[in-house]
């Protein structure tokens, strides 16, 4: 999906092998098993029973061997890239981890970002694996999980092996859109309402025509008027199609977040109607445009406002 890839946030590991120290500790079943083994050992010592010793040592050795298996299972797992598509406030952000290609099979490895839910993954030997980890998005802006936790209790579920990595990953969170039923043209529909936009489109100057009701006053060619040529209006390329400017000042809501939500809803509505639209925020201006990339630019401006 190339249109998605455009807006994905990419993150990369910094030296995963340096900070990915593997730690291990028993699970609660592990503690219980150790207790079971100890009591068996005590019983064998007490009765001086060689068969008891043999059995206890068999179980103990199997536990030790399983630790080696566990270590091998988690060792060397690393992530090449982390992708995340932007989400809206309140949704779940999905971070896609592209794992190193591993020569051996890995079983039941769990991936977790900070406090997210865990994702359980088995890998086939030599294949590329993508792991999707879901993290609740929270407030608009960026969410940047600080740590990736890789854990596994393979094979007995008695010991947990754990590696954590420092991350520089983030995911853009757009404001929560307020559904907009219809765009009120009276307020919003303005041809090149902002000066900046007008200047940018100077090159697109097409010519002059006589003023009609409804034309923006900013585009009146006052020089011609002063020369007594009547009200002439500057005409620009592309202004034939309806073009709207989603403007901060026009939203009559006090709360900043709510304002942004309304603006977000408008952007989505305009994009859905395939309109050409620009956005105007205090100190920030985005020229009218169209398409997924443009939508992302607008929404990002809202997200990071």
């Amino acid at each position: 999906m190339p249109s998605n890839s455009v807006v994905k946030t990419k993150s990369y590991f910094r030296s995963p092998n340096k900070n990915g120290r593997i730690r291990w500790f028993p699970t609660r079943y592990g503690w219980l098993f150790v207790l079971v083994l100890l009591s068996m050992l005590l019983g064998s010592i007490n009765y001086n029973n060689n068969l008891g010793f043999l059995f206890t040592f068999l179980l103990g050795s199997m536990l030790l061997v399983s630790l080696v298996h566990s270590y091998g299972n988690i060792r060397g797992i690393g992530v090449d890239e982390i992708d995340a598509l932007p989400v809206f406030e309140g949704q779940d952000a999905i971070f896609e981890l592209n794992l190193h290609v591993l020569p051996r099979q890995r079983m039941a490895v769990r991936f977790r970002l900070d406090n997210s839910q865990e994702t359980l993954v088995d890998t086939a030997p030599g294949s590329c694996v993508r792991v999707a980890v879901v993290l609740p998005a929270g407030k608009r802006g960026r969410i940047s999980p600080r740590e990736l936790h890789i854990t596994s209790e393979y094979p007995f579920g008695l010991f947990c092996f754990h590696a954590s990595y420092q991350l520089f990953a983030d995911c853009l969170v757009y404001p929560k859109p307020v559904p907009v039923q219809k765009l009120s043209l009276q307020d919003l529909l303005q041809a090149h309402s902002a000066d900046g936009v007008a200047q940018e489109s100077v090159e697109d100057f097409k010519g002059l025509r006589t003023f009609q009701n409804g034309d923006a006053t900013q585009h009146i060619f006052w020089k011609a008027f002063s020369k007594g040529q009547g009200l002439m209006v500057k005409e620009f390329m592309g202004s034939a199609s309806p073009c709207l400017c989603v403007s901060w000042e026009k939203i009559r809501v006090e709360n900043v977040e709510k304002k942004l939500s309304v603006l977000c809803g408008m952007v989505l509505k305009a994009n859905g109607m395939k309109l050409e639209y620009g956005i105007r925020l205090p100190g920030h201006l985005i020229a009218p445009g169209k398409g997924a990339q443009h939508k992302h630019v607008c929404l990002r401006a809202l997200a990071l406002f």
């Binding site: 190339p2 890839s5 455009v6 994905k8 990419k10 990369y12 079943y29 219980l32 098993f33 079971v36 068996m40 019983g43 010592i45 007490n46 009765y47 001086n48 029973n49 060689n50 068969l51 008891g52 010793f53 043999l54 059995f55 206890t56 040592f57 068999l58 179980l59 103990g60 050795s61 199997m62 030790l64 061997v65 399983s66 298996h69 890239e81 992708d83 592209n98 190193h100 290609v101 591993l102 020569p103 079983m107 039941a108 086939a124 030599g126 294949s127 590329c128 993508r130 209790e153 393979y154 094979p155 007995f156 579920g157």
Partner: protein, 648 residues
């Protein structure tokens, strides 16, 4: 999850495997209990019957525990009760498999059942069986953690881990420090087994006759004694209350020294019997470590015997104890009342004949002549068992004869005592040792003669001499066996089975010798022996060889690592890096934050002429890199495209 449905089935299977060897050692109702609930669990699993809820399970558990406490506990915490409780839980456990916790705890309990079976049945077969049940239980543990995987895969993993663990296990086994003796014991571990009791009454020995269990094995160094002198001395019984003989107040004192002409040295491998005395060939001359010989030549240990015990003794069949000492009084004790006829008879003999020797001869003659018979199933005796036996039934087993004979002697004022032990043994030619079984149990009398000292009198031998010369198996066993087995055709089969039995017994003894009896002493010998016996030349050799091997291992490891590194590098990624490098050569560098798509977009903006090639390579790269399974053809064509790509 669909696969979770198998779990009751697996739990029943694993518990069944673990508890199987114990079933014979458990009371019938415990086995029935397990089978009932397992059956229900299986039916509930198959036919979707309702699973019992928590209340029902708790009620059942309470019923089970109470029953165990009442029938097996007998007020004390015995090993039998422990196993009973485990079995009751094992019966109920398959009914609660809903949570992972329940399942894992059940498996841990299964491990406990396995170790219990090892404690109770100590032989080679159970050792081999243990590996199978550990394998099954461990595979189950893995499977409960990863139920989505194939059971066979999990089984294979468990087997792999077990095989890898075995060398470590052996190392632990050899090197783990062993202690001597037992710190604390659970009473009644041998409650379920009959064996020698510390008293003798009519029927106490003949009940052992139907027991095919081995009492002990004897390895002689050098020659075997002849069959007639294979009297295995156990306990000496002093006190008679009119019905039963007990040890009574044992005369404690100095240990007399005896000497014999023919001396035999032998190793006894005694099966545990839970008592504090050992058996020896009559009469022992030496005492093994940690034992003590009482004045009546009973070999006592400090602890009740709870595991197979091996000890070395020297004995001489012709040794004699010449000192009566303070034992004379106790050895003439008789109850005031009861058995008047026998008492009268002995008194009449004494007054008629005068000397002890003559009375002894008379008594032996009396048993020989008066139609006594030797039988396994003697009739019940009344209030005066000696009188009833001597003047009524006249048929009995060795305890009847011994008891009556000792009674007569004491009534005539001759010091007499009962010795219980074993008589005879079966020669196992496969291992060249003697097996003494429970059915060899025997009782005889010792009387004190002024000139000869304590002499052995075996009244059974007077009545049934073949019991001594041929052994019990041939003289009496036919009585206890169904007729059809005795007939010749099946007799041959029995012979074959006995041979197979001997062979298996010899293998087991070998196993016991080098495994079960591995102790602190052997450990010390093995470990110190290993270091002390090494000469400097061998040490040099080992160091040299070890160095070479280590060097080879390191080299191999490095090469292996290198090969692994090469394998871990993704050729597709490498090709893409080459593509990026080519573009960088013409000034289009890839930022580290740029993914392949961003980069392709930027590159095609700069090089509109190459737009198609760039997009084709990038798209193919993304497809290949993140595909589950790559096909070789598209990978090859990708390589080719990158190779052909020339931005210059």
């Amino acid at each position: 999850m669909k696969t979770e449905d198998h779990q009751p089935l697996l739990i029943v299977a694993v518990l069944g495997i673990a508890i199987g060897p114990l079933l014979l050692n458990l009371p019938v109702w415990v086995a029935g209990w397990c089978l009932t609930f397992w059956g229900y669990a299986l039916l509930a699993y198959k036919k979707r019957w309702p699973w019992p809820n928590r209340t029902v399970r708790l009620t059942l558990a309470c019923i089970g525990f109470m029953t165990v406490l009442i029938f097996l506990g007998r007020g004390s915490l015995g090993g039998q009760m422990f196993i009973g409780l485990l079995s009751v839980m094992a019966g109920l456990k398959p009914l609660e498999t809903k949570s992972h916790r329940d399942r894992v705890v059940t498996l841990f309990m299964t491990y406990f059942i396995i170790i219990s079976s090892l404690f109770i049945i100590e032989n080679l077969l159970i050792t081999l069986y243990m590996f199978a049940s550990v394998l099954a239980t461990t595979a189950c543990l893995i499977h409960f953690n990863y139920p989505e995987r194939h059971l066979k895969t999990n089984l294979r993993l468990a087997a792999l881990i077990m095989v890898q663990a075995i060398p470590l296990m052996i190392l632990f086994f050899i090197l783990f420090p062993r202690a001597e003796g037992t710190f604390f014991t659970l009473p009644g571990r041998y409650q379920g087994r009959t064996g020698f009791s510390e008293s003798m009454q009519p029927g106490s020995i003949s009940k052992l006759v139907r027991e095919d269990r081995t009492a002990f094995r004897v390895q002689f160094q050098g020659k075997f004694p002849d069959t007639a002198s294979l009297y295995w001395r156990g306990l000496v019984l002093w006190h008679f209350d009119g019905k039963s003989w007990t040890r009574g107040d044992v005369p404690e004192g100095y240990q007399p020294r005896v000497r014999g002409q023919k001396v035999f040295q032998y190793d006894m491998i005694l099966e545990p019997h839970g008592k504090k005395y050992l058996f020896t060939l009559d009469l022992p001359l030496t005492t093994p470590p940690l034992t003590r010989l009482t004045e009546d030549f009973t070999l006592m240990t400090r602890w009740p015997l709870r595991k197979t015990h091996r000890y070395q003794v020297q004995s001489s069949p012709d040794a004699r104890i010449h000192i009566l000492g303070r034992q004379g009084q106790i050895a003439r004790q008789l109850p005031e009342n009861g058995n008047p006829k026998a008492k009268w008879l002995a008194k009449a003999w004494l007054s008629r004949l005068g000397s002890s020797e003559a009375v002894l001869d008379q008594a032996m003659a009396y048993f020989r002549q008066n139609g006594f018979s030797y039988t396994l199933s003697p009739p019940l005796l009344g209030e005066n068992p000696v009188d009833d036996f001597m003047f009524g039934s006249k048929s009995g087993y060795c305890e009847h004869f011994a008891s009556a004979f000792a009674y007569l002697m004491r009534a005539a004022g001759i010091p007499a005592r009962i010795v219980v032990g074993y008589l005879g043994g079966e020669h196992n030619s496969y291992g060249n040792y003697l097996i003494v079984k429970q059915y060899h149990a025997h009782a005889w009398v010792e009387v004190f003669m002024e000139k000869q000292g304590w002499i052995r009198v075996d009244p059974t031998a007077i009545v049934a001499p073949e019991r001594v010369s041929m052994g019990l198996a041939d003289s009496l066993l036919s009585e206890s066996l169904p007729d059809f087995l005795v007939q010749t055709g099946l007799g041959r089969m029995r012979n074959f089975f006995r041979k197979a039995d001997y062979m298996w017994d010899a293998i087991n003894l070998q196993w016991d010798t080098w495994f079960m009896e591995y102790s602190r002493l052997e450990q010390l010998h093995l470990v110190t022996g290993f270091f002390s016996k090494l000469a400097w030349r061998q040490v040099l050799w080992m160091v040299g060889l070890g160095g070479v091997l280590a060097g080879m291992a390191v080299m191999g490891w490095v090469r292996f690592k290198g090969a692994k590194k090469a394998r871990e590098k993704d050729p597709v990624k490498e090709a893409y890096d080459l593509f990026c490098a080519k573009l960088e050569g013409v000034g289009i560098g890839r930022e580290p934050s740029q993914g392949p798509v961003d980069f392709a977009r930027m590159a095609s903006l700069n090089r509109g002429d190459l737009k198609e090639a760039i997009e084709a390579i990038s798209n193919r790269y993304i497809a290949l890199r993140y595909m589950e399974h790559r096909d070789k053809a598209s990978q090859q064509s990708f390589f080719k495209k990158v190779k052909m790509f020339d931005p210059k």
